[in-house]
Amino acid sequence: MTISFDAAEDLVSRARAGDRDSLDRLLELNRPRILLLVKGVLLDVEEAEDVTQDVLANAARKLDTFDGRASFATWLYRMALNRAISHRRAPRFRFRWLDLDHAQSIPTQVPVTDLDVADALSELSPAERGVLVLHYWEELSLEEIAQVLGIRLSAAKMRLHRARERFRRVYEGGTP
């Protein structure tokens, strides 16, 4: 099984051998999809940019721990999902130094254009959003989702089913 955007295996081997350009190219190739996943989990464009940058920097640092058992894309997806979920679970208070004139509410840039969908997604847990994003936005198969989550296929199927049922109920205006 392959994940479509992980087509640069030679880049991985060259990057692991210490080729800086290959590493840069590899991370840049994967960046859009990682950003998409993180945006879906966090529902905040600015935070997603920051977290994606962290994930890619972390991947560059930890490349020697990539053992090749899963594809590079799967490895990166897993890292990004875990990082995004832990980021969302962290306390939401963040200090920003602002002039008093600007100390008003800062509008959050929501990545989803359909606000009903954004509202419904925001009622779900980050992990549930992660599964939905992997399936509907990243278009991964159930087998690939199971690999990213590190769980069995049947468990992945169950998680996806629960997440989309919860989304559906909220989206229709019901309780999650």
């Binding site: 991370l27 950003l35 954004a118 997604l121 939905l132 509907y136 989309r164 229709e172």
Partner: protein, 207 residues
Amino acid sequence: MKLDDEYLWAVAETGSDEALEELIRRYPSEAERIRSRRAAARALKRSRPAMTPVSAPLGARPVVARRRPLIWVVGPAAALGIAIALSVWRFAPAPEPIVVPAPTPDAPRPNLPVVAQRTDTGLKGPPPETIHLRGAKLGDAIRLLLAREGRTAEIAPGLPEAVVAEDLTTAESDPVDALGKRYGFTAFDQGNGTVLVIPAREDRIAQ
């Protein structure tokens, strides 16, 4: 009859509008459940933000191409062209006149290269096969026919419990469609290797 949730989601995500409407006609009591999942699946797919295109590699520095003055390019090119023209004129041997032998009726024909001629070999596609189905359950027969072409079936509940006894030929446009006409179901090719099989309504079968 209540349809399985997993099945409804599969249809909602992959089924064509036509297949979905057929399913609703078949199971009108399930219309709300079907449409609800369809709406949710569509909303999720449509809400996907646009992906940022891949730009230059991280850390890459843009290279500014400096334009050279036109004379730098035109001058050497013109000089080179003149030099080549002069050398060809000075050293090239004069061309020999072409002598065309007059055709004589008894002269042997020169050995001309043989050019393969395309002839009609009468080859056509593979000959039609006849598939003998005896004592197979209808669902199994459909799966078998589709598996020959590397396709899989998603069969909605309500398929008749018929036992198939048919001789189908692959000369027919689609043996599964032929089977559908005889046993009352419609097959919708989803284009992803999956065929959605929806049984016809009882009122249609009765007609």
